[in-house]
């Protein structure tokens, strides 16, 4: 047995990156973690393009108009006209930002040790205090984020 372990014949059995996303029978916060990671990655990619493209405003008005045109936004008579697909994608981006921001706020408080309960004597059934104590704050933030998402629907699709 010892030789087997030393020579590395043992199956590594690691779940790899799939272990970040998929967990059968996992708890709710585990899925929030997976979504936080995915939204974070999307935002890093978006921010690089955003900084580079929006930087065109310092070159000339023509460069600015070209960039806006490339993004599907044209200005006619002082009013915007956005390509409907781009408009929808903008709303999706707002949802991504709302999720990452409000979940991040929950993580900031809990990772410093606030709102996750105090150590105590464990009693059967062992319901983890850190999960149960952080749920009210999570629900409060979810309600505010949902409220902004609903205003976004009104703003993006019912007015324009």
């Amino acid at each position: 047995m010892k030789e087997n372990i030393k020579e590395g014949k043992v199956v590594k059995n690691k779940r790899g990156i799939l272990g970040w996303i998929y967990l059968k029978g996992g708890n709710f916060e585990r899925y929030l973690y997976a979504l936080h990671r995915i939204t974070g990655f999307i935002l890093v990619v978006y921010i690089t393009f955003h900084i580079i493209l929006m930087g065109s405003r310092s070159f000339s008005e023509d460069a600015w108009k070209k960039v806006l045109g490339f993004l599907g936004i044209t200005i006619e008579n002082g009013v915007y006209k956005t390509n409907p697909l781009v408009h929808f994608l903008e709303y999706l981006l707002i949802l991504v930002i709302l999720f990452h921001a409000f979940n991040g706020m929950r993580l900031i408080f809990t990772e410093i040790g606030f709102l996750i309960g105090k150590p105590s004597r464990p009693e059967y059934p062992y319901i983890p205090k850190s999960i149960v104590s952080s749920r009210p704050f999570m629900i409060f933030l979810m309600i505010i984020a949902f409220f902004f998402a609903i205003i976004g629907i009104y703003e993006f699709f019912l007015i324009h």
Binding site: G16, R37, S58, W64, E90, I97, G104, G152, E155
Partner: protein, 119 residues
Amino acid sequence: MRKIVFWGMHLLAGFLIFFFLLWHIFYMHYQSLTKAIGFGTHYPLIFSEVVARAKTAGFKIAYVLFLIFVLYHAFYGLKNILIETEFGKKFEIPIKILIILFATFLFIYGIFTTLKIGG
């Protein structure tokens, strides 16, 4: 600097970005909400408005700070994602160097465009 202090700055940057970013989104996209607060109708993407905004000292300072916090928070997070993979331990130092270089490039470009337009 100890490793845990970098993590603490990541959290602090995240906390400050929360307020900056929500304000930025409301100003740019949630026109009816800003109208309700009392800002009046504005068209933030028209070039003349962009220039007028960029000349204000308040906006310049705010945008530079916003840029620093966002780049630090985003690329610290990206570093975490890339290093926590199966190959992360082997390539830890090259990944960190590449990320620092790319973030510095974006920072210099961002500062240049923010300050140049104002003159």
